[in-house]
């Protein structure tokens, strides 16, 4: 009897977050080499659901036993997942939750193992709010506007700002990228000279925002926060150019998913018998976090 | 030629303005069954007038009547619908399509949009047969034909049954005597059948041979319109350019200097086979032959534009020392060898660029210092050349595309004068060049020869070769079959040599 074969399908592996996720999974597999084998894949463009479906289908053709997937789109992936389940593949959902309505329509039960992006963004927003007064003005730099995570994070930021009576002057997309984040940030700074803070949907855009703040000569006057806790953000947290970010423990996310899948495989639990949701941690990271 | 009293085509006060006025107040009548010669200097407006008649150019002023009805075609298609057709001066075939498709483009036989391939082939074969091209496979892509054959296809395309008026704009510029003869036969047949023809050419002896009437354009105006009978050649020239030219009277063989270019056993596939020849300082060597006999390819092999399969080419300096070998045009030009190619549009000119740019490309070092161009020096050099060759243009900044065909050829020539070539390879150098300009070019060639340079000239115009050359080599079926010394040749002996290698067979081989 061969050990079970697990496929890990992520979004863009050119994104540090998913790369860390992949590395965590590979390390875990190495440590448990006898228990399972792993095929990890990502897509080129984070939003390309069709490309991800192609990968899912190839994984089914590879006769994997379990599929751990971070869907590029919470709805568009459902039919492909249904097809996989029908072929007897056990599916676990990580990172980005599949749309409950779509799952229900297909009569599917897919466990979600992952963080709550909206809650995480609220944590970051709350930390920022502590440095602001009611009536202060801030801007949000969103990721690719059409993605679920971008929307959730923006909502979380807005929740926090509303609670603190801080005005959000605008939400603009920085497309998850450092360069776009930079130009959007500098436009916002010009249009709203009294801006007090910029909330970026990920750390890459936060890096861009920091550069924009510096170029506008407002270092220290405009606070920046991000999300994801990538390595390049650490020096910024240290010297205060970035106030806070959130850590979703990328390295552990996939591992949690894989463990859930392995447990079910070992116990021969059917897809329908799997738990509905396993929440993973999101923590606030600031200069003072260890 | 019994001309019916009412003209089929009548023009009144036709004028055309571009930046300048190129046609003005042209009035002309054409009767059924008549062949009208239209001649004039380069840039006189012959092609423009022809294009107006067949709907390609809209006149600025004036009216036309066709068969008594007002006639103002807005497109070539409209003109063709009324039986007015034209063989263009510049080639207009589509290289990726087959001969048959080119022949019938615009009215491909089809059923509901789907081609009827059998019928297409049949129609094409019939049309080719009219002008004696039974040896071309209609399903062959045009890109495989030499330029002379392409010209024949172009002519065949316009030989349709419903034609009332046919304009031929320098159809023989690329043709050799055999094809020319076939064409003239066809023209006579059409005229007999009541078609009215306009024949544009610079070859005055041709005009005298086949035309009933002659019209001369000068600077866009009609300066003469009279029956051909009784007009002398000198008379025509005088009318055309307002001065007489020396018609290359019998000159003795030029004194020849040392050997400059030695070709031994040069060959490529079946197109050029084992050609050996010598070219000396101060000599003009002509190359005659039928369409597709391999003359163009031979020049390209010598020049390095195509790679030879076998054989050698050696160059010697004036002092008789061997010069370095070359294997590309770039290296050839470095050795002061130049090529005037037969297809100036696609292989010669940078059409949208000004005359200045076109002239100096052959030697930019001469007008630059440390890689930087010297605008004043460049303009000065080009101005002088433009004047010397009498290029008809606004100034040296005019785009070459706006020049008439003959003047474009002069620009190509200017390029090699600028390079100061020691050996010049000329492929149909006077194609489409008027008699005045031709005299200018001949004079320049003469000067080059006298200066000890060596010239190798391909031409389909035997008269030109016989006038200009010291020796004439004749190619047939890819071989250099015979070389005549000055005084040894007659038109008949040259032609006989050209036909020697069972030419029908050759065409089949090279086109298969």
């Amino acid at each position: 009897q061969n050990p079970p074969k697990v496929a890990l399908v992520m979004k863009s592996l050119a994104n540090e977050f998913f790369l860390t996720m992949e590395e965590g999974a590979k390390a875990h597999q190495k440590a448990h080499a006898k228990e399972y084998t792993l095929i990890a894949n990502g897509i080129k463009d984070e939003t390309d659901a069709a490309a991800q479906i192609r990968i899912v289908e190839q994984m089914v053709a590879q006769k994997v036993d379990a599929l751990v997937i971070a869907p590029a789109d919470s709805k568009a992936l459902v039919p492909a997942i249904k097809a996989a389940v029908d072929k007897g593949v056990l599916v676990v959902n990580i990172d980005n939750k599949l749309d409950p309505a779509a799952l229900k329509e297909k009569g599917l039960q897919v466990p979600f193992v992952g963080p709550d992006n909206r809650a995480g963004a609220k944590l970051v927003g709350d930390a920022l709010a502590k440095t602001l007064k009611a009536g202060d003005k801030v801007g949000i730099i969103e990721g690719v506007s059409t993605t679920f995570n971008a929307q959730q994070r923006t909502l979380g930021f807005q929740d926090a700002m509303k609670a603190a009576n801080v005005t959000v002057l605008g939400v603009q997309s920085g497309q998850w990228e450092i360069d776009k984040g930079n130009s959007v940030a500098s436009s916002m700074l010009r249009e709203h000279p009294d801006l007090k803070a910029l909330l970026a949907g990920n750390d890459s855009m936060a890096l861009g925002a920091v550069a924009a703040v510096k170029a506008a000569g407002k270092t220290g006057k405009v606070t920046v926060v991000g999300y994801d806790n990538i390595s390049a953000i650490k020096p910024m947290l240290q010297d205060g150019r970035v106030l806070a970010t959130a850590d979703q423990f990328a390295a552990k996310q996939a591992v949690f998913g894989i463990e859930t899948a392995l447990k079910a495989l070992a116990a021969k639990t059917p897809q329908s018998g799997m738990p509905a949701e396993v929440k993973t941690d999101v923590v606030l990271v600031t200069r003072d976090s260890k | 030629m019994a001309a019916s009293p009412a003209p089929v085509l009548a023009l009144q006060g036709i004028g055309k303005d571009y930046a300048a006025t190129v046609l003005d107040g042209v009035g002309l009548e054409l009767r059924a069954g008549e062949v009208l010669a239209l001649t004039g200097e380069n840039g006189a407006g012959k092609s423009t007038l022809s294009k107006i008649i067949c709907g390609l150019v809209t006149p600025t002023r004036g009216q036309m009547q066709l068969g008594g009805q007002p006639f103002a075609p807005r497109s070539r298609r409209e003109a063709e619908a009324q039986g007015v057709r034209m063989v263009m001066q510049e080639l207009g075939l589509v290289s990726n399509l087959t001969v048959a498709e080119n022949l019938l483009m615009g009215h491909l036989p089809n059923r509901g949009g789907w081609l009827q391939r059998g019928r297409l082939r049949e129609l094409a074969e019939r049309q080719l047969a009219r002008i004696g091209l039974t040896d071309i496979d209609p399903d062959m892509p045009v890109s495989r034909l030499g330029i002379g054959h392409q010209q024949m296809v172009e002519i065949a395309r316009n030989l349709q049954d419903d034609t009332r008026i046919l304009i031929l704009d320098e159809p023989t510029a690329m043709l050799t005597p055999r094809e020319t003869g076939r064409l003239f036969g066809q023209i006579a047949e059409l005229a007999a059948a009541g078609v009215a023809l306009i024949y544009v050419s610079h070859r005055l002896e041709e005009l005298r041979r086949i035309c009933d009437r002659v019209a001369v354009l000068r600077d866009g105006r009609l300066v003469d319109d009279r029956p051909m009978a009784g007009v002398s050649q000198a008379d025509l020239v005088q009318r055309m350019i307002g001065r007489a030219v020396d018609d290359g009277a019998q000159r003795p063989r030029r004194p020849t200097g040392p050997l400059r270019l030695q070709v031994r056993g040069l060959g490529r596939a079946q197109v050029v086979r084992d050609v050996s020849l010598d070219l000396h300082s101060g000599e003009v060597l002509g190359l005659a032959g039928l369409v597709g006999s391999g003359r163009t390819e031979l020049l390209r092999l010598i020049y390095g534009a195509d790679k030879a399969d076998r054989g050698t080419v050696e160059l010697f300096t004036r002092e008789g020392k061997p010069a370095p070998q070359w294997s590309s045009p770039v290296e050839a030009v470095r050795q002061r060898i130049g090529l005037v190619s037969e297809d100036r549009k696609s292989e010669g000119l940078l059409l949208p660029q000004p005359i200045r740019v076109n002239t100096t490309v052959s030697d930019l070092r001469a007008v630059s210092q440390a890689g930087w161009l010297q605008p004043a020096k460049e303009s000065g050099t080009v101005k002088a050349l433009v004047q010397k060759l009498r290029v008809r243009c606004r100034d040296e900044e005019q785009a070459v595309s706006a020049l008439s065909g003959g003047n474009q050829q002069k620009v190509v020539f200017a390029r090699w004068l600028h390079r100061d070539c020691e050996v010049l390879l000329l492929d149909e150098p006077t194609r489409g060049v008027d008699i005045g300009a031709r005299a200018d070019l001949y004079a320049e060639l003469e000067r080059m020869a006298a200066d000890g340079r060596a010239l190798l000239m391909v031409s389909s115009d035997l008269r030109e070769l016989m006038d200009m050359c010291d020796r004439i080599g004749v190619m047939s079926g890819g071989r250099l079959v015979q070389v005549f010394e000055r005084g040894e040749w007659t038109e008949q002996s040259l032609l006989a040599a050209a036909f020697s290698a069972a030419s029908e067979k050759t065409i089949k081989e090279t086109t298969a």
Binding site: D45, K63, P79 | L108, L115
Partner: protein, 322 residues
């Protein structure tokens, strides 16, 4: 010699045309089969076959566009818009599926028509007009969907449903379109006009063929096919994703060019385009199955594109000479 020029020696020469690319394709399949025991299975090929219809259908259109020396960068956006409109027609306006599909196709055709007309009317290069369209149409797709993926469900899954041996309707349709496309290119007056215009537009004009309607039709057709690709994609996703098809234009063009169609116009073959599509699809599937890392995927993909074109070019040159 491209297949647009009728082959002189019939079937044999025709087959020769596909040889260069065929070798690349077979080589890739052999390689991946040796790397992964499950690659050479029916499952894999059925999966590949069901992945390619959208790409293949767009590539058919793009072949015609490249043949007239044009380019259409907007196809990916058009795919998204047409899927989006169809989805909204079902979800918001309560239309029937066939009616909604028609809306999708019509919108694609209109986009192509607009692109073609603008570029013909002002004689602008289609590159830049379609670059503008890429942005405009993508914006349209965002507007229509409110920037959210619209889940439609089973009702639009028909095209992607497995049919004979697991092969989808989409694939059969794509193959039919490839064959029809090739026939249109080589056997119709329209197809010959396309070849002629791509080779020498001025000569065609002089021969009495107006290039403008032909150009416009080619772009409209490509728009229609991109719209169809949008429906095919939506059927697979059972949803309309406003981000669908981003960057797809370059994949499509890569497939067409790998298939030997010249970017300079006048030379190309729809069948070869299809082989180009297969090469890209097999490559992607194979790399996913062996679980190649992201950088190596990129590097291998890039190399395969260039190598495939080199192989095909060398074969073509040899054929032209012989």
């Amino acid at each position: 010699m491209s297949a647009a020029l009728p082959a002189r020696n019939g079937i044999n020469a025709q087959l020769g045309t596909y040889l260069g690319l065929g070798v690349v394709l077979v080589g890739m399949i052999a390689l991946f089969s040796s790397l992964s025991q499950y690659f050479f299975t029916t499952d894999t090929f059925v999966a590949i076959v069901n992945e390619i219809p959208a790409l293949a259908v767009m590539a058919v259109g793009m072949t015609f566009v490249l043949m007239i020396a044009g380019i259409d960068l907007s196809v990916g956006s058009v795919l998204a818009l047409s899927a989006a409109l169809s989805a909204m027609a079902i979800l918001q306006w309560g239309w029937s599926t066939p009616a909604a599909a028609l809306v999708g196709l019509a919108s694609g055709t209109l986009c192509g028509l607009l692109l073609g007309s603008v570029s013909v009317a002002w004689r602008l290069p289609s590159f830049i007009v379609s670059l503008g369209m890429l942005e405009v149409v993508r914006g349209g797709a965002y507007l229509v969907t409110g920037s959210r993926t619209q889940y439609v469900g089973d009702r639009i899954a028909g095209l992607a449903a497995p049919w004979i041996g697991g092969v989808s309707v989409s694939f059969v349709l794509a193959v039919v379109l490839v064959i029809v496309g090739q026939l249109v290119l080589t056997r119709t007056v329209f197809g010959r006009s396309v070849v002629g215009i791509g080779t020498n537009e001025e000569a065609m004009r002089l021969a009495g063929v107006d290039p403008r309607p032909v150009r416009i039709i080619v772009f409209a057709l490509t728009g229609l096919l991109a719209g169809l690709a949008g429906l095919m994609q939506a059927a697979r996703l059972e949803a309309a994703d406003p981000n669908a098809g981003q960057g797809m234009e370059l994949r499509v063009i890569a497939a067409v060019v790998i298939g030997g169609t010249s970017l300079m116009g006048g030379r190309g073959s729809v069948i070869n385009t299809f082989i180009g599509v297969l090469i890209i699809a097999v490559l992607e599937a194979g790399l996913a199955q062996v679980g190649a890392s992201e950088p190596s995927k990129r590097i291998i993909t890039g190399c395969v594109i260039v190598v495939a074109v080199i192989v095909d070019t060398l074969r073509q040159r040899r054929a032209d000479r012989g």
